[in-house]
Symmetry: C2
Subunit: 265 residues, 2 copies
Amino acid sequence: MSFKPTILKLGGSVITDKKKPLTPNLQAIERLANEIAQAKVSSLIVVHGGGSFGHYLAKQYNLTEGYGDPSQVFGFSETHRAMTKLNSLVMEALISHRINAVVVQPSSFMVTKAGRIQSMEKKPLKRMLDMGLVPVLYGDVVLDSEMGFAILSGDQLVSSLALNFAASRIIMGGDVDGLYTKDPKVTKSAKLVRRVTLEELKAQKHDIEGSKVTDVTGGMLGKVRELIPAIEHNIQALLVNATKPQRVYKALRGEKVIGTILDRG
Amino acid sequence: MSFKPTILKLGGSVITDKKKPLTPNLQAIERLANEIAQAKVSSLIVVHGGGSFGHYLAKQYNLTEGYGDPSQVFGFSETHRAMTKLNSLVMEALISHRINAVVVQPSSFMVTKAGRIQSMEKKPLKRMLDMGLVPVLYGDVVLDSEMGFAILSGDQLVSSLALNFAASRIIMGGDVDGLYTKDPKVTKSAKLVRRVTLEELKAQKHDIEGSKVTDVTGGMLGKVRELIPAIEHNIQALLVNATKPQRVYKALRGEKVIGTILDRG
């Protein structure tokens, strides 16, 4: 098989309660697993964020700055362990819907350099896609050749996977409808932008700050900036609100859906 | 840091009830986590078997033969999921004893060819050891370049890791005291052999069949045969009974312990 994979991101703000440490949103996870199963995409990679699992501990042990103190080594263990627990809930839901899901841990097959992906082993993932498996990855603490360790965001991962596995498209499921002219959580007159070109994105024509809750891997601006390399390679990205039922399903099916398209223009 | 790592195998027959599908031996897992924590080994890799988690499902979906039928793809997902559940119990115990443990999934960073390890990405594991983390791996279903997928035994993994990371020694924690002149479960006059050289091992001077319960990755003979490449490279292996308290602790500390030493002679 040689379908070009779709890459679906499930934001940490969607599958967890970002305000409460280590609290999953089980209802959202179950609903999204069902939407993914119903959509029957022929080749799919799922990436999920850490939300209140990863960020909470990463902050507590100050892991964002890399290694500075031996006590952080146990913090690495605990943070990774928390992420595997969240991932386990996602896997349980996907497999209960008979999706051929298989977890692929970023920390097991990639290293970063100063926080950016430096190398990754592509063979296992490539073969999984060929076999019709659905690899599931997540934002993770990883080993870093300069900083000792680093936090790899699900967003950087999405962009890198899209390029390395020649994705057909990216679907980013977040907690807002897409990009707005202003922050919709602050300004009532904010309007959803239905399409943003690469040129506009680079010029930052729109105010794309959106996430008010702390996110150590960056808010909406960071998320969208991470996608630029993929968009430059003509991989279209679609931002949809995954907290609203059927949005992810419609996006996966290629149906008309409320959201923001990012493309090369 | 550049300590040569110790590789510790915890047999599936020790950490699970091999006669009951998907049944962990939580008491053994907890005790072994405590023994590992007390031993304070400076550089350590832990590998555990699948026992009644991996073997049960692998058999049910006939995964040992590789890919033959599309229904097996979901079997791959389910088998891997079962292994991550068993691993999760091991991780929980290790981390509760404040061991800097971090899981490394074989299926995420290696592929096999006809059931034998063909390639592995060493960078993340190498850096983990340098950082003082304790990588924890396990027998896993993996992608195979000839068979589609394959079952990678914890024993093959131990031998390969020992060679690739220049281990100082291997400690194999099983459910028997070591190698016997005859099968101790059948023949009462069977005697424990305290040391077996490579030459003797190759000549199979001793009857080293031992496991009576089905093990799709091979019984004691298979386990010991897997270690030959490491022993040839002068890495000593020690077989101990991990179902008996303090044996693994003593082995890790380098203290005198009941068991069988396998060395180049």
